[in-house]
């Protein structure tokens, strides 16, 4: 790449290149965020059930 302009326009392929990377970003972010969230929610849920003195199924 010789300039920012060239980088952004991708030699006329901007639509295809940048939408590819955009979708990749969305999918990878989702994969990075969701499991940690699920883990925290699950830990909380188990704690709640324990406090109520129940066995979780």
């Amino acid at each position: 790449m010789k300039s920012w302009h060239e980088f952004i326009t991708m030699g006329g392929y901007a639509v295809y290149v940048w939408s590819s990377y955009g979708i990749a970003l969305v999918i990878m972010l989702a994969n990075a965020i969701l499991p940690g969230r699920q883990q925290r929610r699950l830990l909380k849920e188990i704690l709640h059930r324990m406090n109520r003195g129940e066995r979780s199924e």
Binding site: M1, E6, F7, M10, G11, G12, Y13, Y16, V17, S19, S20, Y21, I23, A24, I27, M28, A30, N31, A32, P35, G36, Q38, Q39, L42, L43, I46, L47, M50, R55, S56
Partner: protein
Amino acid sequence: MFVWFHKLASPPFFYRFAEKLAPWLGWLSLLVILAGLYGGLWLSPPDYQQGDGFRIIYVHVPSAWISMFAYMLMATAAAIGLIWRIKLAHAVSAAAAPLGASFTFLALVTGSLWGKPMWGTYWVWDARLTSELILLFLYLGYIALNHAFEDRRTGDRASAILAIVGAVNVPIIHFSVNWWNTLHQGPTVFFGPKAEMPPSMYIPLFIMMFGFMLFFAAFMLKRLQVEVLQRERNTVWVRELVEQS
């Protein structure tokens, strides 16, 4: 070494191990991917035929590679779970499936976005594309079957059989470009006198593949932690863990 591996298969030991290792792998994957992107999107020269359009390769090939790697991991773990009844093995398969499915989807979408400007079409029913689409359906089938039963163990066993039978599709994807006349290009030669890519093009590709592997490893561990928690929720160690937190 063997003692260590044996310990790793014990859920509480694994859980604590993953809790420490996953963040390191995650941040490292971010660094490696950023380096690969800088090499692939900025430093490498445009392709003599495809111009800057070829740069989709740096996300397409690593995703496709992870899509197949994750499937082999899922099927191998499923077989181990069926044969040796190791608790953690089915959890590995269940954790690999959503990650594998999302990278298969990514490989298909980026391939489609690459196909449009180069082949003139988003989709064609050639052997490589069709077998990769079947891979996506295998992942989705595995996930659906795994959750289809009241009893988790029944679901694990049923979906494990699907995963193992479906593994036959992975070599088909890999060799499809050699076995059939496809619109998808054949394997790229990287080294030697017939090399089709200069180092400035393939080095960023290898960096991206390594970065995607690290990413997969990091969030595979994270998902596996969730699977282990769900499966072990009534055990003493999970109760202790929850009390400490």
